[in-house]
């Protein structure tokens, strides 16, 4: 079944640790995104990709990095986590084009940095 998967769903780690949030989609979509979601705040775009070997930074400055080596895979990495990185991270995908615009979201990864 076509879907978008995020792992881990929940992660609690200590300051200074390196973490990678995984995102995979079987939708066949070219474009993928990472959003940060905090209560009472708008969803902030932190990274996006148009396809393989394409990565761009979003509107919200982030210390994270992403890679897109395979179409279906778009992992997000924090080299040294800090408490300010505590948040919900949402991965999404969409078809790239004018006629289709729907974003499909994963279930999210809730990160807590102690």
């Amino acid at each position: 079944e076509a879907d978008i998967y995020q792992t881990p769903r929940y992660l609690v780690i200590g300051t200074g640790k390196k973490i990678t949030l995984e995102c995979s989609q079987t939708m066949g979509h070219d474009k993928m995104y990472w959003y940060q979601q905090d209560p009472g705040m708008e969803l902030h775009l932190i990274h996006y990709s148009y396809g393989v070997n394409s990565t761009e930074k979003g509107d919200l400055s982030s210390e994270s990095t992403v890679s897109r080596i395979r179409t279906e895979h778009f992992p997000l990495t924090l080299e040294s986590a800090r408490p300010s990185h505590t948040s919900q991270y949402l991965c999404a995908s969409s078809e790239y084009g004018r006629q289709t615009g729907e974003l499909f979201f994963g279930e999210g990864s809730r990160l807590t940095v102690l």
């Binding site: 474009k31 708008e42 969803l43 775009l45 996006y48 969409s94 615009g101 994963g106 279930e107 999210g108």
Partner: protein, 109 residues
């Protein structure tokens, strides 16, 4: 610049009452607008988009370019409508999506 404004963070209505969730936008081009919904313990999902001009779960939203609004309406709220609702604008440049801060709707039995 593109911006989506949802003025109400919290909204409570009684079951059976009409509900309207407000969304205003600013965009220099021709916008494509969406409403996304997140039910408790579920992922964010599309509710409706203005291009489709359809009613989903009794909700409708009309794009008013003069008032730059895309308010979400339902004539009779149900308890299962309680959720977080996000208005979103898709910019043609770069295919970017911009979200509002969301409105948490509670339908009181």
């Amino acid at each position: 610049a593109q911006r989506v404004t949802q003025p109400e963070k919290l909204l409570s209505v009684f079951k059976g009452a009409p509900v309207e969730l407000k969304c205003n936008y600013s965009y220099s081009g021709s916008p494509e607008l969406f409403w996304y919904v997140q039910y408790s313990r579920q992922r964010l999902q599309l509710l409706l988009r203005h291009i489709s001009r359809e009613s989903i779960k009794g909700f409708t939203a009309d794009l008013n370019k003069g008032e730059t609004s895309f308010h979400l309406k339902k004539p009779f709220a149900q308890e299962e409508d309680s959720a977080m609702y996000y208005c979103a604008l898709k910019a043609w440049t770069g295919n970017q999506f911009y979200f509002g801060t969301g409105t948490s709707l509670t339908v009181i039995p």
